[in-house]
């Protein structure tokens, strides 16, 4: 036997498992560092809650890893530092969302009254309180523009997705790259494009339709890529059995594949809507904005919720800014609820109810989704 003598083996590393080691000790260290830092801040000219928190954090990382180093050695100590830092980064990502939503709620809540939905800014003077006047014209504009954009972009996006999944030609490869490129177009460039084409060259003037076209340029790639992912999840067996039974390709796609992916395709559309509903930049040069109701999307400048909020906030008058915050609140609620709706569990992928006999692996993929 060529076994190494037992004495030559290093001690196996200890793994911290017990509650005392994993929870109590770090908490104790954190508390000690926090109090110590508070004392230091009280004595020295250092000040500020943020500074205290940061110093406490750094002190904690150093002491905690030193504690690890003392008992377990350098490898575990390094691992410990990495764990703390990575966990902090992971949890940090939630902070901005909470801060933003809370702040918009606190600023906008008292501005969202009945009149916000039923009145316009047509007869509002600079001296009127924030409760007078509303965003009815902007809400109408947003509904019309987003609706038109959806009508324009969804069929195009879905057919593009069908082409991407069902054909293996060169066009499909090129298109996939271009859809990605298109999803990176800055929203303001989409607005400039429609402005130069529709407003300037075709002399159509500012209108809700122009805004809808600019928005659909932004919506198309989102719909196409999401729909492509969803159609890919449809089990291949369905496609093959349909073709084997003699159905032509178009019937297979329209009657078998798309219905199987139906809920996912709805998701793709709603995701697209949630992406464009809050866009402001392209509207500046297409819808242009107005203070009165214009229900005709084909002609004349129109307002929209994001545009309304943007133009109010740019104003120096506090009541106008308050109206802008109310608009922002309605907008964020609208966008986030649309987005949540689209991503709700079960709202994505192949609906398992219709195709229960699929092999288990595919079923699991369909439910989970990316």
């Amino acid at each position: 036997m060529s076994a190494v003598p037992a004495a030559a083996l290093p001690h196996p590393r200890k793994v911290r498992r017990s509650v005392r080691e994993v929870v109590e000790r770090p908490l104790m260290i954190a508390a000690v560092v926090g109090v110590a830092m508070a004392l230091i801040f009280a004595v020295t000219p250092l000040s500020g809650v943020l500074g205290w928190a940061l110093c406490t954090y750094v002190g904690f990382v150093v002491l905690d890893s030193f504690d690890c180093y003392r008992t377990d050695g350098p490898v575990v100590a390094k691992d410990r530092i990495a764990t703390v830092l990575v966990s902090t980064a992971g949890l940090c990502t939630v902070v901005p969302l909470i801060l933003i939503v809370a702040y918009v709620l606190s600023k906008g809540l008292h501005g969202v009254t009945r009149s916000f939905f039923t009145e316009t800014l047509e007869k509002v003077g600079p001296a009127d309180p924030a409760t007078v006047g509303g965003a009815k014209h902007a809400i109408i504009g947003t509904i019309e523009q987003v609706g038109l954009a959806t009508i324009l972009a969804t069929p195009l996006g879905l057919m593009t997705a069908v082409h991407l999944t069902e054909s293996r030609g060169r066009l499909a490869r090129v298109t996939r790259v271009l859809v990605d490129a298109m999803s990176g177009i800055p929203s303001i460039v989409a607005g400039l494009f429609i402005y130069t084409m529709w407003v300037v060259r075709f002399h159509e003037g500012f209108s809700g339709l122009a805004a809808a076209m600019a928005l659909s340029v932004l919506m198309l790639p989102t719909v196409a890529r999401t729909a492509e992912e969803v159609i890919k999840l449809v089990p291949n067996g369905l496609r093959e059995s349909s073709l084997a039974l003699g159905a032509p390709e178009w019937k297979t796609t329209l009657r078998i594949i798309l219905p199987a992916a139906r809920s996912g395709l709805v998701t793709a559309t709603v995701l697209g809507v949630s992406r464009i509903a809050g866009e402001t930049a392209p509207l500046l040069m297409t819808a242009f904005g107005s203070d009165s109701v214009n229900t005709n999307p084909w002609h004349g400048a129109q307002s929209a919720l994001p545009l309304f909020a943007f133009q109010r906030v740019r104003n120096a008058i506090p009541t106008q800014i308050a109206r802008g915050w109310a608009g922002a609140l309605v907008l964020i609620v609208l966008v986030l609820s649309l987005f949540t709706l689209a991503r709700a569990p079960g709202g994505r992928g192949v609906s398992p109810r219709h195709w229960r006999r699929e092999p288990p692996k595919t079923a699991a993929r369909g439910r989970k989704g990316p």
């Binding site: 530092i81 992971g90 298109t175 460039v189 400039l192 340029v217």
Partner: protein
């Protein structure tokens, strides 16, 4: 044998076999054509964007000539008109870099946390919340940055310039903070964080599991495994994700238009008010612009379009190569 013969019905003449024409039916041809046309429309739209921007930018480009890329001023309505995007491009790039400095470490950290550390019970809601952050409109980031973040970062800015002022970036000539590239950069960083994080997460999840487990089995700690397997594997993917974030950051408009105080100087003082941004300038000036100014703004938009297109395409190529290339253990 004869029993079987009894069971079999007497042979009837077989029906004529159905004529099968190889190839596609007419319906299929139409269908394929429609789908291909939809796909080609993407190409068409991109082409039209370039075409119309070039057409409309031409008058301005003729006036400015090559100086369009080297001039630091923006005065297209003056006589003589004097304008160029040099300072704007610099400001745009500066803000995008600050954004990446903010976003990249958090994004990589959160990707590692969700993939390697967090239990699924915690990881999945985190991913959902991060996606939700991506859905918040640019306008709201801008308003939040202007009214909430800016006052709260006053102290930080002052501290940075007082204690780290020897670094050129943190030096300020006057103790005025706000409307600066620093604040705009942080807000844009939060805006691009979700996309950088989600692309990084997907790339790092492709790391060969077998090798990861081998590293752990050899006695490596979790951090050792990450450093020796996952990060080397995902390096180019992280670069791609960062470039994708850069592409988004370059095109951010409304938030920057709200926060930044525009001037047309090139300065390293990121904490002081002032700076430039192509997209932000377009949004700010478009409403009141006359004809000459609008042509100039479209020209600036064209430059932005070309830059973001290049950055995004290169980024996508890098990301796709990482996620497809090294699948095998």
């Amino acid at each position: 044998m004869s029993d079987l013969d009894l069971l079999v019905e007497p042979a009837r003449p077989l029906p004529e076999p159905r004529q099968i024409t190889p190839g596609l039916t007419t319906g299929d041809k139409v269908f394929r054509f429609v789908a291909a046309a939809a796909a080609a429309s993407v190409l068409l739209i991109l082409g039209l964007v370039a075409l119309f921007l070039v057409l409309e930018a031409q008058p301005a480009l003729k006036v400015a000539g090559f100086k369009f890329f080297t001039t630091f001023e923006w005065n297209p309505d003056g006589t003589p008109a004097h304008f160029g995007i040099a300072a704007l491009i610099y400001g745009t790039a500066m803000i995008a870099c600050i954004a990446l400095v903010v976003a990249l470490p958090i994004a990589v950290g959160s990707a590692l946390f969700v993939n390697e550390y967090a239990p699924a019970r915690l990881g999945r809601p985190l991913v959902a919340l991060l996606d939700l952050l991506a859905a918040v409109p640019s306008l709201i980031y801008g308003m939040w940055g202007l009214y909430y973040l800016q006052p709260h970062l006053q102290g930080t800015s002052r501290w940075l310039t007082d204690h780290l002022g020897f670094i050129p970036f943190f030096h300020t000539s006057r103790p005025v903070f706000g409307s600066s590239m620093f604040i705009a950069g942080i807000v844009v960083g939060l805006m691009v964080l979700p996309i950088v994080a989600s692309v990084t997460r997907e790339v790092l999840a492709q790391a060969p599991r077998g090798v990861c487990e081998a590293a752990l089995a050899l006695g490596g700690s979790r951090w050792g495994m990450i450093r020796s397997v996952i990060l080397p594997f995902g390096r180019s993917g992280i670069v791609g994700a960062a470039m994708l974030g850069l592409g988004r950051a370059l095109g951010e408009t409304i938030a920057i238009a709200l926060i930044l105080a525009f001037n047309f100087r090139i300065t390293t003082q990121i904490l002081a008010p002032g700076g430039g941004s192509v997209a932000g300038l377009i949004a700010n000036n478009f409403g009141e612009a006359g004809d000459a100014q609008r042509h100039a703004l479209v020209a600036a938009g064209l430059a932005l379009f070309v830059i973001t297109l290049i950055v995004n395409t290169v980024a996508r190529i890098i990301v796709n190569r990482t996620s497809k290339g090294k699948m095998e253990d």
